[in-house]
């Protein structure tokens, strides 16, 4: 009986893994298709669609745009999130709960609505559509995330370390840079990493707020609209590969290091 339960459980887990990986396997397999349709029968392997992606200037510049927007907006999110988390955790501020709620409020709103709101506002204020506008939108969605992660990790023992430093005569900015930031590094990295991930993959805000220069997901969407094409598979597989490399990198270098 017990063995049967165990067997069922393992079969279940394998089935779920299969479900999770099915589209990825199909995606990657048919990116190697030699003919123009990414559906069976498989005619590859061929690298012609990867060649096509890498020599497509619109896709490669969109990739660079995506990286820029992701890095810069994540830096902004994590900085604003860290400072405010520190402020709220260390000091008693009037209306603190309300203000914290305000900062985290965008977490509960669909990206579509955030994008729509910014579109209406920018349109009304005469701000042209651009990557900067999309980046602003990405900070709106990622700032609350960074704040929540960092704020939730600010424990009392860190306060004690800071107090000790202060008692030894360290200036406030020194405490911040030498004590708080290093101690909070895992949470800060986690916030930055998650922001990068969300910004890198975000579609609807970028779609609504950019004009000529746009991000990779929007450019992939444009590509998709022009027909069924193994090129879409190829660019999808490349994005996947790059992301996996980044995940492994973060996993091995930054997130492994546990605070003492």
């Amino acid at each position: 009986m017990r063995a049967l339960v165990r067997l069922t459980a393992w079969l279940y887990a394998i089935a779920i893994y299969g479900f999770i990986f099915l589209p990825v396997v199909v995606l990657v397999l048919f990116s190697l298709q030699a003919t123009s349709f990414p559906i069976p029968p498989f005619t590859g392997p061929s690298l012609r669609w990867y060649q096509a992606v890498l020599s497509d200037a619109r896709l490669t510049s969109a990739l660079v745009n995506s990286l820029l927007v992701a890095v810069l907006s994540s830096l902004a999110s994590v900085t604003l999130g860290f400072l405010s988390a520190w402020g709220f955790a260390r000091f008693v501020l009037p209306g603190s709960a309300f203000l914290r709620g305000l900062i985290t409020l965008p977490l509960t709103v669909s990206y579509l609505i955030i994008g729509m709101g910014l579109l209406v506002l920018f349109n009304w204020a005469g701000v042209p559509k651009s990557l900067v506008a999309a980046g602003i939108g990405h900070v709106v969605i990622n700032l609350p995330l960074c704040f929540a992660i960092i704020y939730s990790q600010m424990g009392d023992h860190q306060i004690n370390i800071e107090r000790a430093a202060r008692d030894l005569g360290a200036a406030e900015w020194k405490v911040l840079l030498m004590i708080t930031v290093p101690v909070m590094a895992p949470a800060i990295f986690a916030g930055f990493f998650l922001s990068m991930t969300f910004s890198w993959d975000e579609f609807v805000i970028s779609f609504l707020l950019t004009r000529f220069e746009t991000t990779l997901p929007v450019e992939i969407w444009n590509l998709l609209r022009s027909g069924l094409n193994p090129k879409t598979n190829a660019v999808g597989s490349l994005v996947f590969a790059v992301s996996i490399v980044l995940v492994v990198f973060f996993e091995l270098t930054l997130l492994r290091r546990k605070p003492a």
Partner: protein, 360 residues
Amino acid sequence: MTTTARNPLSNLKSHLSAACAGAALLMAAGSAQAADLNALIWCDHSDPALLEPFEKANDVKVNVKEFEGTGAGLAIVDQSQPGDWDVMVIDSIDVPRGVEKGLFEPLPEDKLPFADLFPEVKMDKSTIVDGKRYGITEKFGYNTIGFNKTKVDPADMQSLTSLTSDKYKGKVAIYDYYLPVIGMAALAIGKKTADLTEADLPALKAELLKMKANAKLVGEVTASQTALATGEVDILVGGGEWVTAGLAKENPALDFSIPKEGAVLWSQSLAMFKDSKNKDMALKFIQYILSPEGQARLATSSCYWGMPANTKAALTDEQKKILRFDEQPGFLARAQAYPAPNADLDKKMQDMWTEMLQAQ
């Protein structure tokens, strides 16, 4: 860029080095430089094979923004500052809407190859307003029946009634753009597309719902093209050479017909903005697109194929055969114009379309 376009790695590298100037570049990205040409276009104009020769020859960067439908295009212009845009692709029949808004600049007839255009697609009625010409047709085609000739009886495809017959139930996809398909519904019930009024809406709706009942999906270009090419459906309502021609190489069984009731003629024009800061370059761009080479590239663009408006387009014999270049006079004689509703009727047509999509 001559060599980099062919070398993926150095292409990527050049972009990465460009990224080093990142922040500054990003800040400037909001306002395009004056030397650029800003074009509001349909997806067929974004093909590098079409744009790059022009960019190289004139040392200019063409910034493109895709849109679908005149309403959306004019909305983008509304949201921009005067002078943001240089040229625009627009449905030929909608040129007067742009003129009414005071957006367009008259085109110099003597500098463009009007004499070489198919006479039926010059569309003087809509491209000339108050004696001045504001648009030049660059490409056209038909919203009609696209089908897989190995799966359906080609004789059936000569009549629009087949689309709603039980014989093809579940074998039909509908192209998700309201105007041409409403036009086809009008043809099916014996109305002229040019004369549609609000009073016709109930009959049109009934016809659309019958089509929907037969349909497996209502899809944008990709979805409908995919469905037809992969055998998901055998018939595409609203399809035409713009769907089948590009796929001809992969799937030669795909074809289109102009049924006896007629077909809807789509025709896209180029117009120049009155407030353009770069009118010389804008004219050069229009001249390029209308040149035999530009016309051939536009006609066979990666997003969708279509008939070049210029009879002298430098197409190969094979391309001409795929586009059925020689049969055009007969097709054009049976084609009717795209419906051109006013803003009020347009909204009602869109709501009718939404209703059709939601119908179970």
